[in-house]
Amino acid sequence: MAMRETLEYELTVNGEAIPVRARAEATLLEVLRTECGLTGSKRGCDQGVCGACTVQLDGRPVRGCLTLAANVGMRRVTTVEGISTGGALHPVQQALLETGAVQCGFCAPGFVVTLDAMLRENPHPTEVEVRHGLSGNLCRCSGYVKIVEAALRAAGAKP
């Protein structure tokens, strides 16, 4: 059994500084869900395959389940709870809702966080670019068609 060392540090999550007390080996996903009370990020596979735990570090998508929380340091963490501001839905969220892309919704936070980062980097992606950009997110319900439609709609492209 490894040493069970507890660390105390601070994370900046969705613009707020949050004091954290967690085991040294705790993942960012674990800390967000248990210490920060942000349960939007989901644990699907704990292996970095499904993408349901995707969050952003300084705006770039990472796997919450593969990121050690203690290594995050000063980088800004954005979770699905921090994507929309001031009560209005983010265009990606609005489009997912309108196209009927969301079924069980367990993968939805990961798709929202990934798409937000993708569209900031590439505001007008082609369909092929959207599909490449989402290749790290699994959805078991939808067959992906409406998710791609939503991404293109959010980007203002004609579906």
Binding site: Q47, A52, T79, L97, P109, R140
Partner: protein, 770 residues
Amino acid sequence: MSSAIEPLGASIPRLEARDKVVGTARFVDDFVRPNMLHAAVLQSPYAHARIRSYNVEKARALPGVRAVVTGADVPVRRVGGMLKDETMLAHGKVRYVGEPVAAVAARDAETAQRAIGLIEVEYDPLPAVLTPDAALAPGAPILHEELASYVRTMEGGSQGNLMWHSRLVGGDVDTAWAKCDVILEGTFQTQAQQHAYLETNGVLAEVEANGRITVIAACQSVHHVQTRVADELGVPMSQVRAQVPRVGGGFGGKHATNIHSIAAWLARATGKPVKLILSRAMDMEMQKSRHPSRIRLKTGAMRDGIIIAREADITLDGGAYADESPNVLAFCSLMVRGPYRIPNYRVVSRAVYTNKLRAGSYRAFGNPQATFAGESQIDELAAKLGLDPVELRLKNAAQPGDRWVGGQTLHTCALRECLTEVRAAQKAAPPLPPPAPGRKRGVGFASTTSISGLMGTSASVHLRADGTVALNTGCVDIGQGSDTTMTQICAAVLKIPVERIAYAAQDSDVSPYNWKTAASRSTYMTGRAVQAAASVVRDKIMEHTAELLECAATDLELRPGGKVGLVGVPGKEVGFKDVAMRSLFQSGGPIVGYNGLVYDGEKFDPKRTLMERFAFPNLGVYTFGAICVEVEVDEMTGRAQVLRAWLAHDVGKAINRAACEGQIQGAFSHGLGLALYEQLVWDDDGRLANPSFADYRMPGIMDTPPQITPIILEFPEPSGPFGAKGVGEVPLPGVAPAIANAIVRAVGVRLKQLPMTPERVLDALEAKTP
């Protein structure tokens, strides 16, 4: 918030979609309770072994551990579908690697996991059987020595490792073979596919001071969870309350599980809330799979393509426990004739115990196995007769008025329309750029059918003081969209915006009974109950208004927006609020509408079909469909890829078009995984070799064609709510055979075993090369 009244069929956003996209939707793992304990489960390391002894002292002594339970601590109460053969923790024996043997509740998940490592179990390993052939061989080790003593709903012909044995006969195949000009025979095999819902199974159990238990479960029916937990704990159902939060996909895999009772047991033992969320590996090792199958199929036709006989011998690998195997076997048998007018058929089928993960309910329930065999052989027949495969299907297609296997009359059946629609859509689509050198393309078709129906359901509708409505059903939304479609049905009856309806979450204390989210039955069955219950409320509103306006109810009309007026007299209106207030405070009492029903369609007719060991008296109404796929095969690598797909279904009426399309596209994706990618693999010791998403490959976005085009045909089903039938399962079974048929067209090899991996395609190509 819009207060517009959307027409029935409109693709309104799902009621809970906003919660899901902003991250506030609550799934079971998102709940915490003060003083909550975490549970962990010890799993069997053996495929087959006798348990000699347990030593839990070290685990119990670990600081932070609150309870340890083994199979020896729990009274033996076997549960299951038709055959009650399973205990919540292994008792006396383990029968598959990964089976729950013991469980721990501790102050945190890490301590619980450490305690699991301290439990000592002594086993006497036994030889294991990992395939049906090995299990049925003379002298094979027997999984359930006490099988004969198990409680069962009906006799299933169980003996040794033979779990269930059934037979279905119509017409006279033996005489028919002699008349056939052409006879095809072949053996088709399918693999163990896993549901792979993104949310693993999980549960939070709490106990009241008087011992009553609340189980919050990721599940497909609170009523089923309540029944099973009560059975396993040996308490009346009144002592168990089941609730369901949002569910992260189910597909049949959250219909029944032993972990609910394990958590409930630990909650009772400790008096504290206990949460048990399975890791992905544990979920894959402990829950269930689709049945691996081997089907020997024989089809005979006349020279002109009229098929007159079909015979099938079906073997399903049921794994270590029966679960839903007998019913999956029954449905597989009922579907293997296919949606054709074949007068002579005989189906002999068996489910077999093996020392592997139980196989159970999985979207389409035995039908994909049957349809892969059936629709592959139809194309072989077309090739042999020199006929176009779609024309051959059209020639034999079932039509309204025909009788299904079992004798039931088909009132609606648009199989022919579905076939011609997908063919026309593919022909009309802009051609794709030509394939790269070394790649070849083919177009494949398949017919498909499934049911919606079965068992009981109910709904209640309550008029609130301000004229808004509360709608209650037992129908659990596991992602298919039933919260929204039920609300749309209610809104359509009462002509009010969906925003004026509160759809209640399911809770066994208050929700009207529903069997479960299964068998594509939510829209058709619960939808009927909602429509009828809302109609009761509407009628009561009319009666109140008639009294208020001192006129006959027949002179009144329901107007959009929650108003009743005099026919032909604009403006003279009474609002729902006025009626509600009157009912609550002056006259009549609160307005409540209730409706409950059991599937009431035509019963199986033993004079038309001999049916041995089939549990259900009737099944449901039939939905039909056809699929067309364009497939590209790389002859160098053997990789087959679907480029475009069209799926047409006669859904009766799409209550929410986007949800209906989503069901079709999602079912396609499970079919695609079954066809090309997914497979649980066991090693020689019976250990699951790929219990992770890294090793269990399922279709990602790059594997899934960008165009999966649903074609929705609306021929109203007279008994359905607003004419609707179910669509959750019917698109799935046709996918694999359509792809197999397209591969034949592309490169000339027929694969009869799923998944059709690059390796298998290459092997077939090599075998073909002279």
